[in-house]
């Protein structure tokens, strides 16, 4: 059964994303996808979706939505809250890391996000058309999302209708990313840099600047000197999200999901897969530190992170939102004499 949500106001900086568009980088097409795949997986897990289902990624002012056809369940993850106005009811707050079930006509005002990246998952995932194997919005090529663009008033977000209206909702502890230095693997062009530059990168803090978008994040800090002026340029080669490229000015840029597929600046190091989601939560002014690991260690960190995520999923618990009759408690209280357990 299908349900849908109408967009009353698209907000600012929001796009439909999923796990990304792998396999097209050789055609110059970015990977795209969630900036913070873990927060997105959490939102999807709360509503019972597969981890890669399409969500609304919220990076600024959240959208205003109205349920066109319900009931549907939604979940919010990130540093934000939302306000629900039900038909004929007073506003209720939806806190992040929990779900709500909305009926036709109910409205939701999301955000703004207080820094970082947040996700709104809808039951069944946002079922817009998939393009080149993904629903992720890639503005540069105008593919994915809503005909290649961001949500705007009048758009419809199709999703799945709940088969059975239940009064239980779900919640979990907020996911906390690993703290400590971001793990990087040195290279592929570490040899283009002086020993001092490598020591700076691994020893000094670098500050996130406001010049950040889905393509990349500029940092400022001690200058990362190239071995020579000539070493500041390379004949363009392939790049990937997480790569730390350093132009002639010595200030690093960490590439993100929508980055180009090739680039002409040397890459001193690359953030490992396990730590990529952390980049989605960086805010201007935040200080980042880096620690170098090898391939073996990066696999260990990734395995540990996956195990921790599985434990988080196992911690999702049902709860009864305020205002609903706690049927389970009534039954357990055995108020209905003789009817609770037929085997006794």
């Amino acid at each position: 059964m299908s349900a849908f949500v109408e967009v009353l106001d698209g907000g600012l900086g929001n796009s439909i994303q999923d796990a990304g568009r792998p396999g097209y980088r050789h055609m110059g097409i970015a990977s795209s996808g969630f900036l913070d795949p873990l927060f997105a997986r959490c939102a999807n897990a709360l509503v019972g979706n597969p981890g890669g289902a399409a969500c609304l990624e919220i990076r600024g002012i959240g959208p205003r939505l109205r349920v066109g056809q319900g009931p549907l369940r939604l979940a919010l993850t990130g540093n934000l809250t939302a306000s629900i106005v039900r038909q004929g009811g007073s506003p209720q707050e939806l806190v992040a890391w929990s779900t709500a079930t909305l009926d036709s006509g109910d409205c939701l005002t999301v955000g703004p996000v207080n820094g970082g990246t947040a996700y709104l998952a809808l039951s069944g995932g946002i079922a817009v058309a998939s393009e080149l194997g993904s629903r992720s919005t890639y503005l540069r090529a105008a593919i994915g999302g809503l005909h290649g663009r961001l949500p705007a008033a009048g758009d419809c977000l199709p999703c799945a209708r709940l088969g059975q209206r239940e009064y239980r909702e779900y919640q979990a502890e907020p996911w906390t990313h690993d703290s400590g230095p971001l793990h990087v693997m040195l290279g592929p062009q570490a040899t283009h840099f002086s020993e001092a530059a490598l020591a700076e990168l691994l020893g000094q803090p670098y500050t996130v600047t406001p010049e950040s978008d889905r393509m990349g994040m500029r940092l400022s800090g001690p200058r990362l000197a190239h071995r020579s002026a000539a070493a500041a340029d390379i004949v363009s080669d392939a790049v990937t999200p997480g790569a730390i490229q350093v132009p002639g000015n010595g200030q690093p840029i960490i590439l993100l999901a929508d980055c180009q597929t090739v680039g002409g600046y040397p890459k001193i190091a690359t953030v490992i897969s396990a730590d990529l989601p952390r980049l989605g939560q960086c805010r201007p002014g935040e200080e980042l530190r880096f620690a170098a690991v090898d391939l073996e260690k990066s696999a260990e960190i990734l395995a540990a992170r996956e195990a921790r995520w599985q434990a988080w999923v196992n911690g999702i618990r049902p709860y009864l939102p305020a205002g609903y009759l706690d049927e389970a408690a009534l039954y357990q209280g055995n108020l209905i004499s003789g009817m609770v357990r037929a085997d006794r």
């Binding site: 792998p22 110059g28 090529a141 080669d237 180009q260 690359t270 897969s273 696999a299």
Partner: protein, 253 residues
């Protein structure tokens, strides 16, 4: 870095990609080895368990990057397999596809043609003759979806980028900068010298192969007048002609 005994370098691009580097210059011989490795890798992909985690293979001017899923297999085993295959790689034996793409050089499509010709002491006609006699090799696709970096520009046409980039380069503009020729698939800002325009789209998201060109392809420009340009554009739009119709006849594709 040196490439002793022609041994390629295996470089980690994080824990999700390996770059195999065959040289540090733009050179048809280096690119030939890249494409030779690309072909042997494609052939081995189905049968080698070590290659099972590969997500994408990106050939560039001088290297080849293999993107993989670190949750679907060992990055170290993949690296070892790539090192062995790359060590055996010879120059490409498979010819890329040959394209004969229509190009119109009317003044409004070619705002920098006069300046490029004048810079090299050529007449407009002589500059176009050189351009259309050249065979361009696609080194890589990048910068934006479907954007081909092509080598083979004659020295008499090599020209630096514009001092001040344009805010808007029209889609399908044929452009040159340094020793490269390219086509802008989309309207975008750009600093290359615009010498003409093709009616053939370089990127169509709805097609099975969205990017018209691929690394290793060979492109020649076939000059057409404005009426022919318009007719081809209309035919492509209506579906009476397909992009593949511009593959050169009689050349293996």
């Amino acid at each position: 870095m040196s490439y002793e005994k022609d041994q390629p370098h295996l470089l980690p691009l994080g824990d999700g990609a390996w770059t195999v580097e065959f040289g540090d210059r733009i050179d048809p011989a280096v690119h030939g080895r890249v494409m030779g490795f690309f072909e042997s890798l494609q052939a081995a992909r189905g049968s080698s368990p070590a290659l099972a985690g590969i997500i994408d293979i990106v050939p560039t001017f001088r290297s080849l990057t293999v993107h993989y899923d670190p949750l679907r297999g060992s990055g170290a085993a993949l690296g070892e397999a790539l090192r062995q295959l790359a060590g055996q790689a010879r120059g490409s034996v498979v010819q890329g596809r040959h394209w004969s793409l229509p190009a119109c050089f009317d003044d409004d499509f070619a705002p920098d043609l006069a300046a490029v010709a004048e810079r090299h002491g050529l007449s407009r006609a002589a500059a176009l003759e050189l351009l259309c006699a050249s065979e361009f090799r696609v080194y890589m696709i990048g910068f934006m979806p479907g954007f081909p970096y092509m080598g083979g520009l004659p020295a008499q046409l090599q020209t630096p980028r514009l001092a001040s980039p344009r805010q808007k380069v029209p889609a399908r503009s044929i452009a040159v900068a340094g020793e490269m020729c390219a086509v802008y698939p989309w309207e975008s800002p750009g600093g290359w010298n615009l010498l003409g325009r093709t009616p053939v789209s370089l990127f169509v998201a709805g097609e099975a192969q969205p990017s018209l060109l691929a690394s290793g392809d060979i492109v020649r420009w076939q000059p057409v007048d404005r009426a022919a340009y318009d007719a081809i554009a209309a035919d492509l739009h209506s579906g009476r002609r397909r992009r593949l119709d511009f593959l050169q006849a009689g050349v293996p594709s």
